[in-house]
């Protein structure tokens, strides 16, 4: 998986560390396949945090995220023979977790639809109440529990594909090809899904955070640096 964060800050030391980790992953996979069940433990301990972060951002709650992590490792173990030793175990497990999280989100959505309560996003609230401070920083904005609730709701409003695309691209820095593989779509469709997710989030949240952008634009007078690096 091409992570923007990885490719951005690559130093020879970091690359050496990543390559060592990959080699040791490959060794653990081989040992597990040859019957040493405990060798799989190394992989679980090494990749759990990363999978949890992804799962939490996709599902939006800790309980589901933990279940996604556990199920992803169980599935990885059961299908370890299908994992090509040249591939990166972390990337492979990550993809399994993303796929399972999508299934889980869809399942939950169906269950929620049955109980069907209209989104609270529709409840109008004066955006100015949330940005009373002249220059709220992102930290302060996120610290604002009301705004946080709005952001969580806006993320919930995304379809499971949109949320997956947004999480993988924006937060995890995955390459479009990787997102397309998880979504089982073409790269241009995946790109479009990323755009649609950002567009929806913007529509939902701009009334609450837009003031900052306008203020900064006036003050800065220069083009902002985009995040990450190019693909």
């Amino acid at each position: 998986m091409t992570r923007m964060s990885e490719s951005a800050g690559s130093t020879p030391d970091r690359e050496a560390l990543q390559s060592a980790a990959r080699e040791s992953d490959a060794l653990a996979v081989e040992r597990t396949l040859s019957g040493e069940r405990d060798a799989f433990r190394v992989l679980v301990e090494r990749h759990s945090q990363q999978l949890f972060r992804l799962a939490y951002r996709m599902t939006g709650n800790e309980h589901d995220a933990e279940e996604v992590v556990q199920e992803a490792f169980l599935r990885a173990y059961r299908n370890l023979g299908q994992f090509g030793s040249r591939a990166n175990f972390g990337t492979w497990a990550y993809r399994i977790a993303a796929n399972y999280a999508i299934d889980r989100m869809r399942q939950k959505r169906t269950e929620d639809a049955r109980r069907s309560t209209p989104s609270s996003l529709a409840e109008e609230q004066d955006p100015l109440d949330l940005v009373a401070d002249d220059r709220p920083t992102p930290d302060r904005l996120a610290g604002n529990s009301e705004l946080r609730k709005k952001m969580e709701e806006a993320l919930k409003e995304l379809s499971s594909s949109e949320r997956t695309a947004f999480v993988m691209r924006h937060w995890e820095g995955c390459a479009i090809e990787e997102i397309a593989a998880v979504l089982e779509s073409t790269t241009s469709a995946a790109k479009n899904t990323v755009f649609r997710s950002v567009q929806k989030l913007r529509r939902a949240l701009e009334p609450y955070v837009g003031a900052r952008g306008a203020l900064q634009a006036k003050a800065a007078g220069a083009a902002p640096e985009p995040r990450g690096t190019e693909l």
Binding site: V44, R148, E152, H170, Q199, P226
Partner: protein, 263 residues
């Protein structure tokens, strides 16, 4: 001046490579587009600050402890499993039986020019009868040993079943092949017994080498509940008789198989 679209700005912000330089150049001279980008930036930056609950350094260990009891003894090997020597031994043995039976059938019996299809069917059935009969005999031995294993006196916490486990594992591969063959031949009765047997063999093969008395008891109960030993014995005996008759009489016809399935 033509302004940038929202899609172009989002793509630029999210690291898209297309026309980056042209977009960057436009942004230096266009305040409206810069403001628009700032607004997108504001939303995304706010989202960046949504916290992810911390999981401490012990998290990986906790995950392992939760999943470890659910993991089968051996990881799924997919196609690699076919590279294992013991599989080749099983397949080799079966191929040898097939070739042996074919050669024996061809050279020991006078060719019957009138019914070539029937003689192919006879050979095929004879092979299956011999091989499955042998397989059922071996399986019966393993199951008997487990079913009759006495529970240890209190104090002994683990019972070693590694020998039975290994044999069950070896029998599993052959069992699958025979079951599939029986299914293809429309012998539903045999396929059903082999299917039941496969579940029990799988249980044994996937058990740890050392099991608790409680686990042994539950294994014994499963063997008992399926009535698998009885079924294996009955089918085994039936196959032995069939082997005797096929040596002296023509092979069972489709109608005979159908009759047995019905029964």
């Amino acid at each position: 001046m033509k302004h940038l679209t929202e899609e172009e700005l989002v793509g630029y912000r999210e690291g898209e490579i297309t026309q980056r330089e042209a977009i960057a150049e436009h942004l230096t001279s266009c305040t409206a587009c810069r403001t628009e980008l700032e607004r997108i930036e504001a939303v995304l930056s706010a989202l960046d600050n949504l916290p992810v609950p911390e999981r401490g350094p012990e998290y990986g260990r906790a995950v392992w402890q939760k999943i470890a009891p659910q993991l089968p003894e051996k990881a799924g090997r997919g196609w690699r499993a076919w590279l294992e020597p013991r599989r080749w031994v099983a397949i080799g043995a079966m191929v040898a039986v097939v070739i042996g039976a074919f050669v024996a059938g061809r050279w020991t019996k006078k060719p019957d020019a009138g019914t070539p299809a029937a003689s192919v069917a006879q050979v095929k059935e004879r092979v299956l009868v011999v091989a499955v009969g042998e397989h059922l005999g071996k399986s019966e031995m393993v199951l008997m040993e487990l079913a009759n294993a006495t529970l240890p006196v209190s104090g002994l916490k683990q019972i070693n079943i590694s020998a039975e486990q290994k044999r069950a594992e070896d029998l599993l591969d052959a069992n699958r092949l025979y079951r599939e063959t029986a299914q293809q031949d429309g012998d539903a009765a045999l396929a059903s017994v082999l299917d039941d047997l496969e579940r029990v063999l799988m249980d044994v093969a996937h058990s740890p080498e050392e099991i608790t008395p409680a686990k042994l008891e539950s294994l014994q109960k499963r063997i008992e509940a399926h009535g698998i030993l009885f079924k294996v014995r009955v089918v085994g005996k039936e196959l032995q008789e069939k082997q005797k008759t096929t040596n002296s009489a023509p092979a069972a016809t489709d109608s005979k198989v159908r009759e047995r399935n019905k029964a």
